[in-house]
């Protein structure tokens, strides 16, 4: 009698452990992976999503010798929107092809979670927009359209949490006040006389570079006829087309702007900060790899352009393709992997 009961118990425990392992690995696979092996040796959380095309680093002949860089695993995670996911994939696959040990985590959260991840040691590499980072790290600092001025402020703040801001990319995904193509305005100032209905996500309404700046009498001083809070994303375009709102806060690389014939109003008073993308690496990882890692990352950052971001977004948001495929294709086309 004892035998079957014991076996049943074993099965129950094994199943439970499998579940626990599968669930736990989402957050920090580094820690749970060691626990897994003791209980369920078969369980091997395959975190990195299909990196098929990058699997062959053999072609990596030309540059920087064949010596694979040695150092700790670099954990990278995109924020939970398609552009950030694609950017994270591009950086991850590029580094992986160079021989770095990369772990791509499931995309989660937004800027706050990314910065938290860096400061509490869950993440080693994030790629963020410098203007956004400025409003998160130094909300009271005035915005600037000059990326170097922003870097000057945020680089030391990243050092405070033990991370280094590397060179920013020429690729920019800026804030944009978007109106319908036939709307009678070309600059944001034109809206002051338009009695427009304003739509934006909840975050915009408390940001000085967003709603507060548009309505501030010292900056744009626009009095909107009404405001609507709309979830950031395609719904902004739907609301704009339906004439429920006249102006929405979107990002300049949103593919729907081109697809649906909207126009981006000119920021004639320079309210919007520069929003170049830039990688941020934890210092310990950066030091472990020496100069090679920063050189490699800077090489990639310099190669990405704003048009690339738009092209990626068209693939992921309009054609509904997977971010890792889009990333792999782009890297291959550019000869970077």
């Amino acid at each position: 009698m004892k035998q079957p009961k014991f076996r049943l118990l074993l099965i129950v425990v094994a199943v439970f452990a499998l579940f626990a392992a599968a669930c736990g690995s989402d957050d920090d696979s580094g820690e749970t992976a060691t626990e897994d092996t003791t209980e369920t040796p078969a369980e091997d959380p395959t975190e990195t999503p299909a990196e098929d095309p990058t699997e062959t680093p053999a072609e990596d002949t030309g540059d920087s010798a064949a010596a694979a860089p040695e150092g700790p695993t670099i954990r990278v995670r995109g924020q939970d929107f398609s552009e950030s996911v694609t950017i994270a994939e591009v950086y991850a696959q590029f580094l992986e092809a160079k021989g770095y040990d990369i772990d791509v985590l499931t995309p989660a959260g937004f800027r706050t979670e990314a910065i938290d991840g860096i400061s509490n040691g869950d993440l080693d590499l994030i790629i963020d927009y410098i203007g956004g980072a400025l409003s998160a790290l130094a909300p009271d600092a005035g915005a600037s359209a000059d990326p170097d001025a922003i870097v000057e402020i945020i680089a030391p703040l990243y050092q405070e949490i033990g991370a280094t801001l590397l060179d920013y990319s020429p690729a920019v995904d800026g804030d944009a006040l978007v109106v319908r193509g036939d709307y009678d305005a070309t600059t944001i100032s034109d809206l002051a006389a338009a009695d427009a209905v304003f739509g934006a996500s909840a975050a915009c309404f408390e940001r000085p570079q967003c709603f507060l700046g548009y309505t501030d009498p010292d900056i744009y001083g626009i009095e909107f006829a009404d405001t609507v809070t709309i979830e950031f994303g395609p719904l902004l375009g739907e609301a704009l087309s339906a004439e429920e709102v006249d102006a929405v806060v979107w990002n300049t690389t949103a593919p729907q702007i081109g697809e649906q014939g909207f126009k981006v109003l000119e920021d004639d008073k320079g309210l919007h900060p520069a929003q170049n993308i830039a990688p941020i690496v934890v210092n310990s990882v950066l030091e472990a790899y020496g100069d090679q890692l920063s050189a490699d990352l800077n090489e990639l950052s310099a190669a990405i352009t704003t048009d690339d971001l738009v092209a990626w977004n068209i693939e992921t948001d309009i054609n509904f393709r997977e971010s890792d495929e889009v990333a792999a294709e782009w890297l291959a086309a550019k000869g970077l992997i």
Partner: protein, 236 residues
């Protein structure tokens, strides 16, 4: 956009939960708690009225004639399976393209589908559950069929019906805040803004308001049931 601390849709970050809930300036004005509360109550009230008008007569007539037993099983399943947020979310773009705006149709229809099953279910089982002996006695005493339905069956099922309406009302009130995530306002706006602006105090205050209103709704229907005449109340 006149007056009110909340007119700009942003609550200062340093406002505490209790300060927010008990501060008069947060209750009045555009975007204030009173306005949001009113938005929520009006929508929920409209949904409940329509849901009751649809579900109660249908269920009563079917139960009286002993038809559609299977519909009860369907409703039980449905009441567990309706994905309110998904329905409303899918309807919003449709509504926008037709020029009907963000509100109220998408959220109204989604909440209606949420509210109908419990009311239908309780009304049907309530009417069916009336003691057959009582119904037969009424018929034997010469009551017309119409009066058997209204004076006996519906009257005796009232208590059970009210329970169904109460369940539906609490669900509707507790679910209505999703409308804030779909271009609307109402009490859910504080939850939405709290999440979007990373303002935990606002988020918590919003959750307390929503939960409070839901609890209050339940309590009101509980009192309503108590107000029924004793004979009707006892039969469940």
């Amino acid at each position: 956009m006149i007056g009110g601390v909340l007119a700009q849709a942003a609550v200062p970050r340093d406002v505490g939960v209790f300060e927010f809930l008990f501060g008069a300036e947060y209750w009045t004005g555009a975007g204030g708690i009173l306005t949001s509360l009113w938005d929520t109550v009006v929508l929920c009230g409209a949904v409940m009225i329509v849901a009751t008008l649809v579900a109660v007569p249908l269920a009563t007539v079917l139960a009286h004639h002993g038809r559609g037993e299977l519909s009860v099983t369907w409703m039980v399943t449905l009441s567990r399976a309706v994905p309110t947020f998904a329905i409303a979310g899918l309807l919003v773009p449709l509504s926008l393209r037709r020029g009907w705006g963000f509100e109220p149709w998408p959220i109204f229809i989604a909440l209606l589908l949420l509210a109908i099953p419990p009311i239908y279910l309780n009304t049907y089982t309530g009417v069916r559950g009336v003691d057959r002996g009582v119904v037969d006695a009424a018929r034997a005493m010469g009551l017309e069929e119409r009066n058997v339905l209204f004076q006996i069956e519906v009257a005796l099922a009232t208590s059970v019906m009210l329970v169904g309406i109460r369940v539906a009302a609490v669900q509707v009130v507790a679910t209505e805040p999703i409308r804030a995530f779909l271009g609307g306002d109402g009490l859910g706006r504080y939850v939405r803004d709290g999440l979007g602006q990373n303002n935990d105090n606002l988020l918590l205050a919003g959750a307390i308001l929503v939960a409070g209103l839901a609890a209050l709704t339940g309590a009101v229907f509980g009192l309503l049931r108590r107000a029924l005449p004793p004979g009707v109340r006892r039969i469940r």
